[in-house]
């Protein structure tokens, strides 16, 4: 099934083992090389935690199910810390082509709830296949727009 980053924000995160409410999804952390979701970020700021995609038992329309409570973990590197500060949230970020030209704001991203693989990126009113994703960071999302490089 397909879902989108925008609709996932604010969804409950529930432990399958204990049925405890672990918080809500703030945003999704993307692995640009693999073009998939690396982790979900639960909460924002100093108390924010992550759950690796592999620890999820189900990504449903009403709740994100986590194997058990222990899957919540603190950020371990600079990238994950930047993520818990909200700096790597793709939604609303400017997009740049590999050639250094702006395309517009990233409005939404769709993904496969079974695998976490990204499907389409919505930039302005255009849909761009996720294979075009080259990198994402605090300043911009970088895309291969199919522009010919200048000689």
């Amino acid at each position: 099934m397909s879902d989108s980053f925008r609709s996932v924000a604010g969804r409950k995160v529930i432990s399958r083992a204990t049925a405890r409410d672990l918080g809500v999804v703030d945003h999704l952390l993307v692995d640009a090389d693999q073009r998939r979701i690396a982790a979900i970020v639960v909460g924002r700021g100093r108390k924010a935690q992550l759950v690796d995609w592999a620890e999820l038992s189900g990504f449903g329309p009403d709740a994100v199910m986590v194997g058990d409570d222990g899957a919540l973990r603190v950020p371990v590197d600079d990238r994950e810390r930047a993520s818990t500060e909200g700096k790597l949230d793709l939604i609303g970020k400017r997009t740049l082509t590999e050639q250094g030209n702006q395309l517009g704001v990233l409005v939404d991203v769709t993904f496969d709830t079974a695998t976490g693989a990204l499907e389409m990126l919505r930039v302005g009113d255009r849909d761009i296949p996720a294979v075009s994703l080259l990198g994402c960071g605090p300043y911009a999302v970088v895309l291969d727009s199919g522009e010919e490089p200048a000689p």
Partner: protein
């Protein structure tokens, strides 16, 4: 786009999506007709100069909105950069030069460099202030000789003065063909 429009652009990593610096100034080699590199500032207001430079070989592309590099290792310490980038010669600035034809007619004064968008710094022409007022563009390769005071260009260059960058694009090819370079 012009060189002065490149100044202040963010330098962004393709893989990291991070703005690691911004362009302070372009380093131009008038004999080669291209940018050989960029000097850098730190990002943000009042952040000051960055010691590293960006040699042309490390530029992924110069676009309208950003200069792209693969990652932060593209920024190079001056001592590790090519000599003309790490320690650029002074007195090589063509801005303000009088553009003179071989026949001794002035076409104007160089105001800025016209840089090919999406390239790593290819200069395709000069923006000039025309003697009678107004601005124009002349295509490269035009000069036969260059100094800190003047550019000497073939007489035929006068036919290829254009009013805007769009016109310059077409004129570059025609001009090169006329000079037997295409």
């Amino acid at each position: 786009m012009t060189a002065s429009q490149i100044n202040g652009l963010p330098v962004v990593t393709v893989r990291g999506g991070d703005d690691v610096a911004e362009v302070r100034d372009v380093i131009y080699d008038p004999e080669a007709g291209r940018l050989v590199g960029l000097t850098l500032n730190k990002r943000g207001f009042f952040a000051g100069r960055r010691r590293e430079v960006l040699p042309a070989a490390a530029i992924h592309a110069i676009g309208r909105d950003a200069v792209m590099v693969l990652d932060e290792t593209s920024l190079t310490a001056p001592e590790d950069a090519p000599e003309d980038v790490g320690h650029p010669a002074t007195e090589r600035n063509v801005i303000g030069d009088d553009v003179l034809t071989e026949g001794g007619r002035s076409l104007g004064v160089v105001r800025d460099l016209a840089v090919l968008v999406g390239s790593t710094g290819q200069v395709v022409g000069y923006q000039i202030d025309k003697p009678g007022g107004g601005q124009g563009y002349i295509p490269l390769p035009a000069q036969l000789a260059v100094s800190g005071a003047a550019l000497v260009v073939p007489d035929v260059t006068e036919e290829f003065v254009r009013d805007d960058l769009v016109g310059l694009g077409a004129a570059v090819d025609d001009f090169r063909a006329r000079l037997g370079l295409a």
